[in-house]
């Protein structure tokens, strides 16, 4: 009797989709929780040098200086005190020359 009942359950396909759905949901949830709680992932997203920190610095720098951020110290650039010539819109610190230009030869 019990064997017959067991066979009846196993041979029946009822509930297969629901079981698969629940199992898949469980696996995906576990995977998601593992990834979100992973330290490296957290550092990548929200760390001091993470994705969004770099995006924020890039936005702030490009808003002020009108060019892509290639600076290593954005905070210093954003707190520029105008006491030197090193303003990235006007002066190329790497090349050691200004962004202004004029004619090389005297006008006739």
């Amino acid at each position: 009797m019990d064997k017959f009942f067991l066979n009846k359950i196993i041979s029946s396909k009822k509930g297969q989709s629901a079981v698969e759905y629940i199992l898949l949901l469980g696996v995906i949830s576990a995977l998601g929780v593992t990834i979100i709680n992973n330290k490296r992932f957290k550092d990548f997203i929200a760390g001091q040098d993470g994705l969004f920190a770099i995006m924020k610095k890039g936005m702030a720098y490009s808003y002020c200086y009108g060019r892509e951020n290639d600076s290593t110290d954005v905070d210093q650039k954003l707190n520029f005190d105008y006491k030197s010539k090193n303003h990235d819109t006007y002066y190329n610190s790497t090349g050691g020359h200004t962004h202004f230009f004029t004619n090389k030869a005297k006008y006739p």
Binding site: A18, F52, A53, M59, Y63, C64, L78, Y82, K83, K85
Partner: protein, 173 residues
């Protein structure tokens, strides 16, 4: 589990939520950029006022009053309720303090805004700085001072002030 009724509705709700979330995300980012453009425009208009303001009083270059004038223009173009949470104050680099770096004479404002993707990227504010360095035109009093100095120099120091009647000729140089 037996019935399929409501499956489409649930799927619609889930995808609709995700779609609307993305739309709002882009809207928020667009608003942030718009706020930035508005601040830059207000700073530019304020710097134009700072450039030409002339107190027209002998003995006073009027830089401090020019800064106040620029602030009024700034507040006119960017009234307080226009940008939610705007905390910037217009500051000026006046010619007296910028004797080394004349290129930076003008006005600027520092302000902070919430990051568009704050719900993912954290709640730290993002610092922005909007600058407009148009300089400062010489006032009538400065023109008077310089003309007097030119007269005194031309006359080899004869007379210690502009109390001599002379005819000035502009050679266009």
């Amino acid at each position: 589990m037996k019935y399929n009724k409501g499956q489409s509705t649930i799927e619609f709700i889930l995808t609709f939520t995700a779609t609307v979330g993305f739309i709002f995300l882009f809207l928020k980012t667009a608003l942030n950029y718009t706020n930035g453009y508005m601040v830059q425009h207000a700073v530019f208009m304020a710097s134009r006022g700072y450039l030409v303001y002339d107190k027209q009083i002998k003995g006073d270059y009027g830089d401090a009053d020019a800064e106040k004038h620029a602030k009024k223009i700034f507040e006119k173009y960017l009234p307080a309720p226009l940008i939610n949470g705007f905390d910037g104050t217009l500051k000026a680099n006046d010619p007296e303090n910028m004797s080394f770096n004349k290129a930076f004479i003008g006005v600027y404002v520092d302000f902070e805004q919430v990051f568009s993707l704050g719900f993912i990227g954290g709640k730290d504010m993002v610092k922005f700085r909007a600058e407009s360095f148009l300089g400062r035109e010489p006032t009538r009093y400065e023109g008077y001072e310089q003309t007097c100095a030119a007269i005194i120099t031309a006359l080899d120091g004869a007379g210690s002030a502009c109390d001599i009647h002379v005819t000035l000729d502009d050679n266009g140089g």
